[in-house]
Amino acid sequence: MSLLEIDALQVGFATEAGLVRAVDGVSLAVERSQTLGLVGESGCGKSVTASSILRLVPSPPGRYLGGAVRFDGADILSMPREALPAIRGRDIAMVFQDPMTALNPVFTIGHQLREVLALRFGLARGAARERSAGMLKAVGIPDAGARLDQYPHELSGGMKQRVMIAMALLCRPRLLIADEPTTALDVTVQAQILHLVRELQRESETAVLFITHDMGVIAEMCDAVAVMYAGRVVERGSVVDVFERPRHPYTKGLLASLPRPGHARKSPLATIEGTVPSLIAPPAGCRFAARCAHRRELDAARARRCVEVDPMLPPAGDHPVACHFPLDAGAPAGNSA
């Protein structure tokens, strides 16, 4: 049994135009001490999936339409509300994209860390302070003792994200959900944070669900990867498999559109034409079909199948893909030399 299993999760948002099925049948599994990358472009449903794990989708307008999120075998979506605080923070911790707003500006860093400890472990003030300072040191914050008395606005973005990570790890969670934790940061700081997460994970054997839109970060961080498109997981596999032998045309297109070192300068870049389909009334067949370059090379009958029949992601396998006609295995992706 995996540490976290997401099974056919469906989450919708009520809007004036109709029900947006932001997550429409996502299945995932995060193994113990593994890092799973969840990658996809904006609006593909990756953040909603992450929020659903902690039942943090705001309601209204959000609504769970189906599926299950099992942590250690227990379904989080169906457990009583009173049981949630025990899971949140203690078993599963979350780091958010924007460290600027995730900290309460009116309390000191120390106060906020201490509060977590007091709530979870009932730690006394002195002990909590000591533990907080230790954790800040662990996430690479110099002069940790003094930082405890500072307010969030006195820290830089990178420092704040470190504090967030420290806060997340304070309770030694078994699963850390990192929702685009480096998107708002500079490259050099991003490198520091990625390094930090990697180190911490190695030490504590925490499983990590790493959500990002940056393929580079996935390549850098993850053991396995799931690619999402329009509310669905379209491809899943080990990071090496997916990067080197993408089976879904979307994954391939995504990798190809990145300018890589060694790419001829000022030459046209590969792109994926078209736009993401509406999630209110998604197309009947493959959701990527309209944009799929691969489909255009197929004969008419097979191409019609793409439009008419919804390809499902096989539940098992090392490198499942939701495509009727997956790309040949073994062909290297991208244009790298």
Binding site: P58, S59, L84
Partner: protein, 454 residues
């Protein structure tokens, strides 16, 4: 040139507003009421809309006709050439002629001489007056209950029974007229055990005659449909319905003008504060703080002591304070909006400040303006009502809700329910409508539902 299409944000907001039934209907009702109020002179007015008199059509709305025109007898001491015809009385006088003519006609049978005499006696039986639904203007005191009973009483005391009956008929007191005709009135007025000879006023007060019951002798008088005082009269005998209607007209237009000037000034100042920022913002902000600290009621009282308050003067005074609130919203809105890149883009191709503020930024900053306007209207109506109530509003005898409320709250009028219900009801309905509109506008502009995290 093609019609400018509404931009999608505005369109969506309008659609959303229309979908919020409550607010939409409230707006429709309020707008209808405002249109009606514009035509108040055709709804409540002492001048007739049309008079048909001896073969000629008269339109008193357009032309002043003295009493003499219609051969109407003036009140004692007045000259029928000087004062305007009393159209409502005219209507009732001619109606009485019709009744008496009909009675005489059936009595006369087929006697041609009697019929001719009858025709000569009632020459105006075929003349008509078309009155507005409320045949009263908001300024005239109608001391009907008192004066008419007095006149009839005098005629009775003097033994002029026919005159008394005629007066009773004219003023719609059918039961009294019948009693005078039949002589039952003598029994009713006779001195009895333990009480002296009664007067008609006593009959009215004590309910001895059903149709006179509830008819006080002095104003305020309770609603009386015969006299077409649908909501009764106030403590000066003026028609409450007419005063409500004209009071509404003044309040709502006052509020609209006030809010318009206030919002325009506030928007300009707030926009400039937000857009220009820096010194201008700092200095103007300090000035606004000074202005906020000024107690506005005192200013009004002081100015009212120096000048006669008028509609426009009050708007000017209140505008002095009205514009402040919106500047805060416009200022922050501008501060936020000016950092958006489209503003920078406009700058980059050389658009002037004026163009940036009014063509680009302002349309994106109107949310607070629109959402707060209905509430500002409520505030303005309240302000005028309050000032009128305190006596610092529009001078008497301007019809006003505040003044009516003042009357209703007087201890001596505690049991005059119509005086209390009418202005409070009108105020409540208007405010509820405006609040409905305001709520809906706010909801249409900011559809964020109430969300919570488990």
């Amino acid at each position: 040139m093609r019609w400018p299409r509404l931009d999608p944000i505005t369109r969506r907001r309008l659609q959303r507003f229309r979908r919020i039934r409550r607010g939409y209907y409230a707006l429709v009702i309020l707008l209808a009421a405002m249109v009606l109020a514009v035509f108040a002179p055709y709804l409540a007015e002492s001048r007739a809309i049309a008079v048909w008199y001896r073969g000629t059509l008269y339109l008193p709305t357009f032309q002043y006709y003295p009493m003499r025109t219609f051969g109407q007898a003036p009140p004692a001491g007045w000259d029928s050439a000087d004062i305007e015809a009393d159209y409502y009385r005219l209507q009732r006088e001619w109606g009485t002629e019709r009744i008496l003519y009909a009675r005489g006609h059936s009595a006369a049978g087929a006697d041609p001489a009697a019929l001719a005499a009858l025709a000569a006696k009632y020459p105006d039986r075929d003349d008509y007056v078309v009155m507005p639904p409320i045949p009263w203007n908001p300024y005239q005191s109608d001391f009907w209950a008192n004066e008419i009973l007095n006149d009839i009483q005098q005629a009775l005391d003097a033994g002029h029974r026919d005159d008394a009956e005629w007066l009773a008929l004219r003023d719609g007191l059918g039961e009294l007229a019948a009693a005078i005709r039949s002589g039952r009135i003598d029994t009713l007025l006779a001195a009895g055990k333990g009480h002296p000879k009664r007067t008609l006023g006593d009959l009215a007060r004590t309910g001895a005659m059903v149709s006179l019951a509830g008819l006080g002798t002095s104003p305020p008088n309770a609603p009386d449909l015969r006299r077409r005082h649908y909501l009764g009269t106030d403590s000066q005998g003026r028609d409450v319905a007419a005063r409500l209607l004209y009071g509404f007209r003044i309040s709502i237009f006052f509020a609209l003008f006030l809010v318009l000037t206030g919002q325009v000034i506030g928007t300009i100042v707030g926009s400039l504060q937000g857009y220009l920022g820096g010194r201008f913002d700092l200095v103007s902000q300090r000035l606004i703080e000074v202005l906020i600290a000024v107690p506005f009621l005192y200013v009004v009282i002081v100015i009212a002591a120096l000048f006669q308050p008028t509609f426009w003067l009050l708007i000017a005074i209140l505008s002095l304070f009205q514009w402040i609130a919106i500047t805060f919203f416009m200022r922050t809105e501008m501060y936020r909006e000016k950092t958006r890149e489209y503003c920078l883009a406009a700058k980059s191709y050389g658009a002037s400040h004026f163009r940036i503020v009014f063509r680009h930024l302002l349309p994106n900053c109107l949310t607070p303006l629109v959402t707060f306007t209905p509430f500002a209207v409520v505030g303005a109506i309240f302000a005028l009502t309050g000032l009128d109530y305190l006596g610092y509003g529009l001078p008497a005898p301007t019809p006003s809700w505040g003044e009516l409320i003042g009357q209703a709250l007087q201890a001596s009028n505690r049991d005059k329910l119509w005086l209390t219900l009418a202005p409070f009801g009108a105020l409540t309905i208007t405010l509820v409508l405006v609040v409905f509109i305001g709520e809906s506008v706010r909801e249409a502009f900011d559809p964020k539902p109430y969300a919570r995290y488990e």
